[in-house]
C-alpha cells in the first residue's frame, strides 16, 4: 500500500506544474464536484423518493418499497455507465502515461503501477457516482436510522464497482487500442452527462401520482433489478441498515481485489503496439491544415460533447420558454466557453507535434490562424440555429445575428493570444486553459453578448411594440432609450472589430512562438 501512495505522490507531483492556487484547489476539486452534483441531485431525489417509500405489492417484490425499486434501477444504470466509462479510461491513462516503462523498471509490483493508473482515471470517469452519493443519507433520513451502515455499504459498493472496472480494464486491454480506449471512455462519459440532463429535467417537475403511474410500467424491471443476487440489491439492503448487505459487498470486493492482484502479475502494458494492418488507401488532401483540424474535430469525443451540449442545453433549458432572446443569449454564453476550449484543443495537437509544424513550408502564424476557422464556423452555425425563433419573431434580429462569426472569431484569436503569451503551459492537463483565463473569456463574451443581443434584441422588440420589462422604464426617456438601444450594440461591435484586428496582428507577430 505504501508503494502505491509513493508512486501516486510522485506521479501527481510530476504532473502538477500549475500555479499555487491550482495546487491548493486540485485536492479539493473532487469534493467540490461531488457537492455540486450530489447536493442538488440529493435534494431533488429526496423530494421525489421520500413520498414513495411505500410497499406496493403489484409493483415491487416483497420486502421492498417503490423507493427501493426506483433507486435500484438508477443504481444499476449508473453502475453500468460507471464501469463502461471507467475501464477504457484506465487503459487510456496507462497508455497516456509516458512514465509507465520507467515505473515498470522499478522494483515495484505491477499491481501498484496499475493502481496508480486506475486512481488517475477515476477523476473524470467517476461522474456517475457523484449523482448517487446522496442516496445513503436519503435512506438514513427517510428510514430514520443511523447513517453508518448505509454510508459504509455505499463505500463498499463503490469499491466493488472499481474492482469490477479494473478487472474489465485488464480484459479490455488485450483487445482495445489506445485510441479506441480513449474514444470509448470519453463517449460514455459524455453520454452520462447528457443522460443526467435528460433524465432529471422532466423528473424535476414530477409529482407522486405521476411516479406511481410511471412505476406501474416498470414493475417487471423492478422484479429483476431487486433480485437478491445483484450487488445493487445488497447495496439497497445495506442502505436500509442490513448488515448482511454490507457483508456481501465487503466479501465480493475483497475477492475481486485479490483476483485483480493475481491477474495483474501477467498483465501486458504494451498493447499500444497492436495496430491494425489493413490494405492502405490514400485520399487527396485539399486545404491540408484545415483538413487536419477537421479530422481532429471529428475524432475527438470531447468536441462532439462541446457541439452537442451548446446546442441541446439551451433548447432543453428553455423548452416552452417564450423568451427567445434568453435562449439565444444562453447559446452565446455557452459557446463563449466552448470556442476557447475547441481552439485550445486544436492548438494543443500542434504543440504536441512540435517542432514538426515549424518544418512545413508555411508561415507559423498562418498555421495558427487556421485554428480559428473551425471554432468560428461551428459555433456560428449553432448560434444561427438557436437564433431561428428570434428571427421568425423579429426579422430585424438578423442585423444582430450577422455579428456572431466576428464574436467567435475574436474569441478564438484571444485564446491563441493567451497561449502564445504563456507558451510554457502544461499540455498534459485536462484543462489546458487556466480558470482565470476561462473566466476572463466567459466574462468578455457575456459582456459583449449582453450589449449586442440583449440590449439590441430588447430594443428592437420594444420598437415593434412588444413591451420588455428591462427597457420599459427607459422607453419613457426617448433619448436614453435610443442611445442605449443603438449605442450599446454599436459600441460592442466597434470594440469587437478593433479587438479582432489587435489580436490578429499580435498573433502574426508572435507566430514563431507556436512551439513555445
Amino acid at each position: 500500500m505504501s508503494e502505491i501512495f509513493l508512486l501516486l505522490k510522485y506521479t501527481l507531483k510530476n504532473r502538477g506544474k500549475g500555479g499555487k492556487i491550482s495546487k491548493i484547489l486540485s485536492p479539493i476539486l473532487p469534493i467540490f464536484f461531488m457537492l455540486v452534483f450530489g447536493v442538488p441531485v440529493g435534494a431533488l431525489a429526496y423530494k421525489i423518493l421520500s413520498p414513495v417509500n411505500t410497499y406496493i405489492p403489484a409493483i415491487v417484490p416483497e420486502g421492498y418499497t417503490l423507493m427501493d425499486g426506483i433507486v435500484s434501477l438508477v443504481i444499476i444504470i449508473l453502475s453500468f455507465l460507471f464501469f463502461l466509462g471507467y475501464s477504457p479510461m484506465i487503459i487510456f491513462t496507462l497508455f497516456e502515461n509516458e512514465t509507465i516503462p520507467f515505473l515498470l523498471s522499478l522494483p515495484v509490483k505491477r499491481i501498484s503501477v496499475f493502481a496508480v493508473s486506475s486512481y488517475d482515471a477515476l477523476g473524470t470517469a467517476g461522474v456517475p457516482a457523484w449523482y448517487v452519493v446522496s442516496f445513503p443519507i436519503i435512506y438514513a433520513i427517510v428510514l430514520k436510522i443511523s447513517p453508518v451502515v448505509p454510508v459504509l455499504s455505499f463505500i463498499f459498493y463503490i469499491f466493488l464497482l472499481i474492482a469490477i472496472s479494473n478487472l474489465f480494464a485488464m480484459v479490455l486491454s488485450r483487445f482495445v487500442s489506445r485510441t479506441g480506449a480513449k474514444r470509448g471512455g470519453m463517449i460514455v462519459y459524455f453520454i452520462t452527462l447528457f443522460l443526467y440532463m435528460i433524465i432529471y429535467t422532466p423528473l424535476s417537475g414530477a409529482k407522486k401520482q405521476n411516479i406511481v403511474e410511471f412505476a406501474q410500467k416498470l414493475k417487471v424491471l423492478f422484479h429483476i433489478s431487486l433480485s437478491s443476487f445483484l450487488p445493487s440489491t445488497w447495496l439497497i439492503n445495506g442502505m436500509k441498515g442490513s448488515i448482511s448487505g454490507l457483508f456481501y459487498l465487503l466479501v465480493l470486493s475483497l475477492f475481486l481485489y485479490v483476483l485483480t492482484y493475481q491477474l495483474s502479475k501477467g498483465m501486458d502494458f504494451y498493447v499500444e503496439k497492436r495496430v491494425e494492418r489493413k490494405k492502405i488507401r490514400f485520399t487527396p488532401f485539399s486545404m491540408p491544415l484545415f483538413r487536419k483540424d477537421w479530422l481532429y474535430f471529428k475524432r475527438e469525443p470531447m468536441n462532439l460533447y462541446l457541439v452537442g451540449f451548446s446546442l441541446i442545453f439551451p433548447l432543453i433549458m428553455f423548452t416552452g420558454s417564450r423568451d427567445i432572446f434568453a435562449i439565444l443569449f444562453m447559446g452565446v454564453a455557452i459557446a463563449g466557453m466552448y470556442v476557447p476550449m475547441l481552439t485550445a484543443g486544436l492548438y494543443t495537437i500542434e504543440r504536441k507535434s512540435c517542432p514538426l509544424p515549424l518544418t512545413f513550408p508555411q508561415n507559423p502564424s498562418g498555421i495558427l490562424l487556421t485554428k480559428t476557422i473551425l471554432p468560428t464556423l461551428t459555433f456560428s452555425l449553432i448560434a444561427l440555429i438557436l437564433s431561428i425563433p428570434a428571427v421568425v419573431k423579429e426579422p430585424l434580429t438578423i442585423i444582430l445575428i450577422v455579428w456572431f462569426p466576428l464574436l467567435y472569431y475574436s474569441l478564438s484569436l484571444f485564446t491563441l493570444y493567451l497561449f502564445l503569451s504563456r507558451p510554457s503551459r502544461d499540455l498534459t492537463k485536462k484543462n489546458i486553459l487556466d480558470l482565470w483565463e476561462m473566466l476572463l473569456m466567459e466574462f468578455s463574451t457575456i459582456l459583449i453578448a449582453s450589449m449586442i443581443y440583449l440590449a439590441g434584441g430588447l430594443y428592437m422588440s420594444t420598437l415593434r411594440g412588444n413591451e420588455q420589462k428591462l427597457l420599459h422604464l427607459m422607453s419613457k426617456n426617448p433619448v436614453l432609450f435610443h442611445a442605449l438601444g443603438i449605442g450599446l450594440p454599436t459600441f460592442a461591435i466597434i470594440m469587437l472589430i478593433l479587438l479582432t484586428g489587435l489580436f490578429r496582428g499580435k498573433i502574426k507577430r508572435m507566430g514563431d512562438r507556436i512551439c513555445g
Binding site: S177, V275, R281, F282, Y296, E300, T359, P361
Partner: protein
C-alpha cells in the same frame, strides 16, 4: 549546400551554441558529433529554421534562411530524434497531409513511397499514429521526408528506435542520396556509423565546434595518436579519463 557563419544561440544565461561556422558542400554526408547537451540538436533546429538563432547567418542551397525560409523548407527535409507526429491522424492521412502541404506530385510521390514502405517494412499506415510504437513513428517520419526527395536532409539521431534491418537500409539509402548530389547533415552517437559513412565530421562540445574535417584530418589533431574515431572523440571531448573513472567505481 549548408553554410553557417558565427551561429550563436543563447537560452537565458546558457550559451547553447557559440559562434560556430559550418560549410558543407553538395553530395557530402556531414557527421555532427558531440556529447549529450553539446548543442547538436540546437544547431540542427537553427539550420532548419525551426529555432531562431540569437545571432549569425545561415545559407541553405545558396539562399539566406532569414530571407526565404519558406522556399528553403520546401527543399529540405528534417527528421528529429523524437518523432512527434499528429497522433489523431492515420499514417495514410499524415502522408496525404505532407503531399498536400509540400504541393508534391501525388502519383510520383506515392510510387516512391510504396518502394520506401516496402524497404522499411511499413505495413501499418492504416492505423492511428497515436497507436504506433516509437520505432514505427520514427520510420513514418523518415519515409515522409525521404519520399519528397529533398535536396538537403537533416537527420538527428536517425537510427534511434530503428530495427537492425531498417538501420542498414537507411545507411545504404543515405549513401545513394549523396551519390545523387544531395547533402546530408546527420547527428549520431554511434561513432561507428559516422566513421564508416561520413565524408566529413564536426565535433561540438559545450556549444563550440572543437574539431572538423575528414577522419584523416581529425587523426592529425590527436596528441595521443588515437586511431579510432571513438578514442579521438573521447580525447577531444575530455573523456580520456574514462578508464580512471571506471576503475574508481
Amino acid at each position: 549546400m549548408i553554410r553557417a557563419r558565427n551561429l550563436k544561440k543563447v537560452f537565458g544565461d546558457i550559451v547553447a551554441v557559440n559562434s560556430i561556422n559550418l560549410e558543407i558542400k553538395n553530395g557530402e554526408i556531414y557527421g555532427f558529433l558531440g556529447p549529450n547537451g553539446a548543442g547538436k540538436t540546437t544547431t540542427i533546429r537553427m539550420l532548419t529554421g525551426t529555432l531562431k538563432p540569437t545571432s549569425g547567418e545561415i545559407e541553405i542551397l545558396g539562399i539566406p534562411l532569414d530571407k526565404n525560409e519558406i522556399e528553403i523548407k520546401k527543399r529540405i527535409g528534417v527528421v528529429f530524434e523524437e518523432p512527434k507526429l499528429y497522433e489523431n491522424l492515420k499514417g495514410t492521412e499524415f502522408i496525404d497531409f505532407i503531399i498536400a502541404i509540400y504541393k508534391l506530385d501525388r502519383e510520383k510521390t506515392l510510387a516512391y513511397l510504396s518502394e520506401l514502405t516496402e524497404a522499411f517494412n511499413i505495413d501499418y499506415l492504416d492505423g492511428f499514429i497515436g497507436d504506433y510504437s516509437h520505432g514505427m513513428k520514427q520510420k513514418l517520419a523518415l519515409v515522409s521526408v525521404l519520399m519528397r526527395k529533398p535536396e538537403v536532409v537533416f537527420l538527428d539521431e536517425p537510427t534511434v528506435g530503428l530495427d537492425a534491418r531498417s538501420a542498414k537500409i537507411l545507411k545504404m539509402l543515405l549513401e545513394k542520396i549523396t551519390s545523387e548530389g544531395r547533402t546530408i547533415f546527420m547527428t549520431t552517437h554511434i561513432l561507428e556509423i559516422a566513421e564508416k559513412m561520413c565524408s566529413r565530421i564536426g565535433i561540438i562540445n559545450r556549444g563550440e565546434l572543437i574539431a572538423e574535417g575528414t577522419l584523416k584530418e581529425l587523426r592529425k589533431l590527436s596528441k595521443t595518436g588515437s586511431k579510432s574515431l571513438e578514442d579521438l572523440f573521447l580525447e577531444l571531448t575530455g573523456g580520456e579519463e574514462i578508464a580512471e573513472i571506471v576503475e574508481a567505481l
